[in-house]
Symmetry: C2
Subunit: 248 residues, 2 copies
């Protein structure tokens, strides 16, 4: 049974963390809102933005998503990126089998999610409903603090996790690829797009993290995905946006 | 084996979501940083802030926490509030047995966590490392958008979840108390402290949520906790702060 991923069709955004896991595992999935906009017979196979909006707004759905991304898999319906990966991890072979490994992987994912939220707020420190142009002075202040304090602090923490992994520094958890490795690759990739100068400076002090960012995309299926037109480009619409004035 | 909770000893903060679960379940736990500041023999029984700082900074810890709260339970070490509750939920009888219920409960917790982060940023929209007094104009703008858009949106979503629960509107998930109910009580309690006027207005449109907030603290053990000196009072130091000017 194919996984149905619902996410905004024109940006990487938070949906990309789920896409990377599905693609790397070679899973059978439909990126629903990017599908054919002509509704097929019946609701289940309806695609395109209409299907996403239906799922978000229908009063018939007992477990409504607060926001995309969300995943539908048979009767299961899950929103929140980290919760989706918690569900997909064991099914896609992207998390260890023990409870300790699963919780540690999830903890890492939640810290990645915290940093993602902070990155978003560098360009939208007042409200996500307003344009960047409506909050530029505040964004300049927030981004300066982000570059000075938060970016080095988060990257140093991920570096220490790699450094202390008893199974070696190639992965965050144990000796095998997990969804947290994929998400960390995406986080660093986004940071290099949005804050190229500051991120390069911070990565100079985090060589294991820099190596992970270079090595992860050599995974065969992931490399094929990143080279395909399924990989949406970074842009000024997503979470990671390049505004030169915010890179200091 | 007692759970060891590590959190800042003088605020509710994010640690309170864990305290509420442990207290409601009547679990055996130590709130380490609030313990006796005299170190007992050996590290394991060391208490007070020194123990918290040690755990945060020691290079010997293979799975370091990024920030408090974190839980130590035998060899298990977990940070991130939602991950701690993911681990504690089944052990404390505060989550359903099926995978579907566990994931849905976790999804709700993550949405509560998102709102908590937004509440924090109403008084710290630029940087958590600066004082409120250093970011008052930005806080005024962010809080206005929070009151106008985010507060009603989040509360309406929680209301719809209660309304659509096929097992009735007394709980978020199924017909039994879960850690998400406790966290939602705490969220509404904090909102009523920090934004009394705006929250009362929003709750007038969310009667099921208002009823949950009134009913949850009648749970016997939780009521005893809330009346005890173990419950730290809300203050201008935590996540939920009352600045009249931010309540509009």
């Amino acid at each position: 049974m194919a996984y149905q991923l619902y996410y905004w069709p024109t940006i990487q955004g938070r949906g990309e963390f789920v896409r990377l896991a599905l693609e790397t595992a070679g899973a059978d999935y439909v990126d629903v809102a990017r599908g054919n906009k002509t509704a097929a017979a019946g609701r289940v196979s309806q695609k395109g933005m209409a299907a996403l909006i239906y799922q978000l707004n229908s009063p018939d759905i007992a477990q409504p998503p607060f926001a995309p991304p969300f995943l539908v898999h048979g009767k299961v319906r899950i929103a929140q990126t980290a919760a989706i990966l918690l569900y997909l991890g064991p099914r896609l072979g992207l998390v260890g089998k023990s409870e300790a490994k699963r919780i540690w992987t999830q903890q890492l994912q939640l810290t990645i999610a915290d940093m993602v939220a902070e990155v978003h707020d560098t360009h939208h420190p007042i409200a996500s409903g307003l344009y960047y142009e409506d909050q530029k002075p505040e964004a300049a202040r927030r981004a300066a603090e982000f570059r000075r304090v938060r970016l080095p602090k988060f990257l140093a923490w991920f570096e220490s996790v790699l450094e202390r992994n008893p199974k070696g520094s190639a992965h965050l958890v144990g000796g095998r690829l997990s969804y947290a490795d994929l998400s960390l690759f995406q986080l660093v990739d986004g940071l290099l797009y949005a804050f190229p100068a500051s991120t390069r400076l911070a990565l100079a002090k985090a060589p294991l993290l820099a190596a992970l960012h270079a090595r992860i995309p050599t995974h065969r299926r992931l490399a094929a995905y990143l080279a395909s037109d399924r990989r949406i480009a970074f842009s000024q619409e997503g979470i990671f946006r390049y505004y030169p004035e915010l890179d200091g």
